[in-house]
Symmetry: T
């Protein structure tokens, strides 16, 4: 069972950027914890600040990997192209957000990608990624 | 650790109502599976079609129980009063939806309650409740 | 052939409330006339000012009665939950209004429930109910 | 008692056009059934695809006939001029629609003419016309 | 100096239609007064309830007559095609309205044709036509 | 002179809920002060989290009591049915709010009920109720 | 018969300001022509760039003069206070504009004052004032 | 204890202007009653039709007087500058309206100044001023 | 293979009307060139300024001709009735525009008919018609 | 005569992605057919999922190639930067779409780039590209 | 080289008003620093809380002074009349703001005057005025 | 003191692209003038047409350089991701625009990035960059 976690723009700064909103831990450090916690999964990771590179990656893995966990960052709210990419592939995609996007500015309340994803998990801090991984492990 | 699951309007018909959207299992039958799966939790259940009764229940348990999992059904999209009730209590509330509300009509894309909840999980079918329970069990 | 007429909020005041808009006859008095006029139908009546109670009643009768005539009053314009209840049951529902809602304030021009009802009859005064009953009696 | 039924644009194709939405019967064939069913009424019929011709007809009969049943088709949603014509005449006009316009695209949810009509009947298929005729026969 | 007055839909009912808004005088009777009052002008008159016929008339006279006075009635607010016709011809067009359209419903506050007309005169009752005629007689 | 104070959803938590917004005093404790301060008035009190129950109460007292002071809480912004109930009764209703609703989120800036109330008093903390009581005591 | 012409902000620059839009003649020079052309009228003139001063002037003359011709300039589109002033006085007010405001930016398409004026004349250049004066001289 | 009452545009015509909306009493005559009724207060009065003059007055007294009662008239709905002035001073300001602004046209439903005022009292006729004065006299 | 070209309102003035936007050639002259260029096609032509006449023509040929090329002119942006007519017939319709409608005013950016047409070609001048004809001749 | 075809995001998946909407043929296979069909043209091809790379390519060829055919995919609806790039170069650009974008979701009805393109061809499947090529070959 | 700095409403309170937003220095004290820093410029200063007085001043100096630096305060967002005044004069006007208006409430994001000014400088605190002065001193 | 100037999409064409809007000078040539004019600053330059590359650059220098001057071109109006990047770094960013964006199309009136920048300078042609550099050199 192979899962790819894709992080979008500015998430490479996690732990450094607006810690009041996003916490102090870097994603790399958290990723190690996830890998230990889910030994039965092969977890890969990709981060890019480029909309095009995220689409390329979705195409590359989207017909062979088991699942994709996508935190598209600000592109969640502006990228119809990523939404189309998700609709174009066969691997199911879970949308995650670290913060509660509904408790932030209005522009963050609308997600272009949500309707093409299998489900959405948001507001649990980094734990949102863990819950997304869980979702691949249980039947119902 | 005590968790209350609250289901809002029409969710008593689960398994009977629009199975294309909501599946064929009744919530009561699913609840038994959850109780077996999480023996370390005391899981209680409340359903009502009445906005006022849901507010009363939130007040009743909202200062003493560990967590609340709320599927407010259609009231998600129309009830500022339930949103206020969530803000008024100290127990954290997780918003869940069975279907992917972003893949449905526009009126279901806005949630009054999301901003006052700790997090949102939607689109995983009944598994959304299971993931919400998981969220109370892991630290991060 | 069993028909249930459901009246929503404030319609218990009919004959007393804004007679310029709704006329002087109480619904109970009009109901007697309807029952006499349609001896071939079993006509029952339910009124509530509570959104939740109307949903409960729709669930209760919505899989066994022949037809429902619903004047949801102000909930017509604010209740997605009643709209969902109508979609959840198998009995056909006819939406009726006493006044011409399109000749009143803008907020009354949109009906949440119309799209889930079989048809709508509005503006004929109390005669709207009579026409709704007729609709169950003729083939085409 | 003279009643004129006016059908607007594209309704001459009834039975031929989008049968999934409008059914397979031509209006002429249905009209014969109505004439038989209501021997006490003189029922006349007019159809035009032209907004101006419908206004001309409303003016022509609108001070002498007992009632008008108007299915303005797409002009329902775009013609302020027909709405003005209805307001200008003394004969009461009943608005009818074959399909449930509220279950269709958003542009069909607003009627320019509704506020000037006595009442609206929509969604009952061709039976909508029959109910409109009934409305002229009963006192209340 | 030849002037054509064009009246749009429902204005043939002037004197008969909504006298509270439009007054009791028929346009024909008023036209005679205008003709007497302006002996130096050749005043012609055309009325139609049809958008297409109004466009045809604008094309017919729009390259040879001195001026056109147009009360497009409800088409003022819905006809881009008449607006285009005005832009397509070389004769200047004056927009007139009998009632103060800004004191009526919101749909009458926007004119499609105003921007292509030389000027607008509204709210003076039938006198609006007289002032429009005056506008052709004075230099400044 | 009989006055009924009606408090809507979540106001039973006053003193407990968001004290930064609503203060630390429970309404019951404040009510006692009001009763002492206005010995010439018979002041009754009703609180409910249910829209339907508030409508029922308005109907029950709305033809016999002298005045009603209504803090409809979140229903202020979502309930057309309560607005209709106020329009349906003969007792004058004063709308009050503890906080300044115009200094809060946009959804709280629109009141469905204001136009049917005699007047509105908002932003004075619990003193808003006292001023509403005063309004019944002075002529002008 | 006394008529007051009131010009609002920036109209003191007429002849100097944007001659492509407003022409090259100063209002003072045009006013002399008007006074000569209408010897039967006492024509007075007031100009101010201040909203408050225009309101003061409307109050001062608005119960004694025969008519007011008001070109409120940009205040046309932003001043509810001038609109209220017009509604508060008994003298009829004619709204005039030199340019065709409907052929300019969208912000100039809405007039706050139009609904309280007797009529509107716009787009005739300075001749708009002359036509407004004419409107006081003819019966119909 | 010094209180300044400020009245905005057109309120100098009180008693004369639209008596159906604002009543027949002039504010000067009502002010005398208020001064008699509240001998413990020094009540001053200022009226202006000018937005700038109202701002000047707020600045002049806004750091030394006890309280300000402001009926900004139409400027309530158009003046961000007065709203800023209220935010700039230290004296608390109470917003009052004579009529129920929510029962009037939509443009009067939004107040620029409400969010910067301590509270709002509207709809009680001239009594709104009396209640505002009361608000300075009681602790809670 | 029979193709009907339908031109809507004002297109009879082509070559005469706004040559900066539409060019100097009349459609009749261009049609001759098209007929010579496509000897394998029977090309017919119909022009009307009347919405109703265009609908009549679509009905008349819409079940027997091979294809229709429709430049609905301004009715593109206002006629739901023509859109319905296109949906009602079986012949495929190609929407064409001479000018680039997206480089013009906002009202011309929305087409009622586009969604019911097979395809749209716009902005190529008269060549838009030629490309539409080509579309019937090639398989892919 | 050199023509560059540029395909935007997700169009590399053509034949694989949503075949119900876009068909089963890959663009590469179709391109070979086009090259054979138009031997007189030098046809080049570029595809990228990156907004920036598309802009770079437009700059690179936009002053020397004869024409560009651009299917910007989802960037059509979100990229003002590509629209600016088209305005910045001298080569004419034709906008093409495979599907009828007006028969899809509302977000696809607005094109940022249309107004800067010479023309638009949409809805003909892959044939849209062929028609765009034709447009460069014929004079009129 | 003569420069006039114009400050609009409430800016006379600078140093006193909302120091968190605007800082603690009075404008008069800052002006002295500017005068010392730019000895080659004749810098004059005008402040008014009145829209009309600002327009009068723009007219007075707007054909003779070298440049105007305008902080219109709240009138930036509400005054079309000041925008017109800027368009009416020949002196270039620079718009300045002390705070970053885009980081404040939505009503402050739109400037009526920006499009008529030469340029805008905002968010640098009082330094915004200094940069505006610099702009008159350098060629490019 | 190190300053990085970042130019976004299409600004590499400066001097070539729409000279009526942006002037004839290339940015490289202007940059040399700036470097000479500010010998006390180390000025670096980066241009990219890619949103992702601009974010990467902001991250790279955003914790070590003294200041950033950003002309994000069209991304100003569409990129929430660049806005987030600015919020994520510690170096202050100045937003500049060459043209007056408020005098252009509506889509250019809203900036996603403005609220996260220290200040904005727009409309001064290339001089906007010079003023931004000045802003780093003066205290106040």
């Amino acid at each position: 069972m192979k899962i790819l976690i894709i992080n979008g723009p500015n998430l490479n700064l996690l732990g450094k950027r607006e810690p009041g909103v996003y916490g102090n831990e870097s994603f790399e450090s958290y990723l190690e914890k996830l890998i230990s916690a889910f030994p039965q999964l092969e977890i890969n990771y990709f981060q890019s600040n480029s909309e095009g590179a995220i689409i390329d990656k979705l195409h590359e893995v989207g017909f062979s990997t088991t699942g994709i966990i996508l935190n598209a960052g600000a592109y969640t709210h502006t990228s119809l192209a990523i939404a189309d990419a998700i609709a174009s592939i066969s691997t199911p995609v879970i949308e995650v957000h670290i913060s509660n996007i509904y408790a932030r500015e209005a522009v963050r309340h609308h997600s272009f990608i949500a309707k093409n994803c299998k489900g959405t998990i948001c507001g649990f801090g980094l734990k949102s990624y863990r819950l997304a991984l869980e979702s691949f492990l249980t039947e119902n």
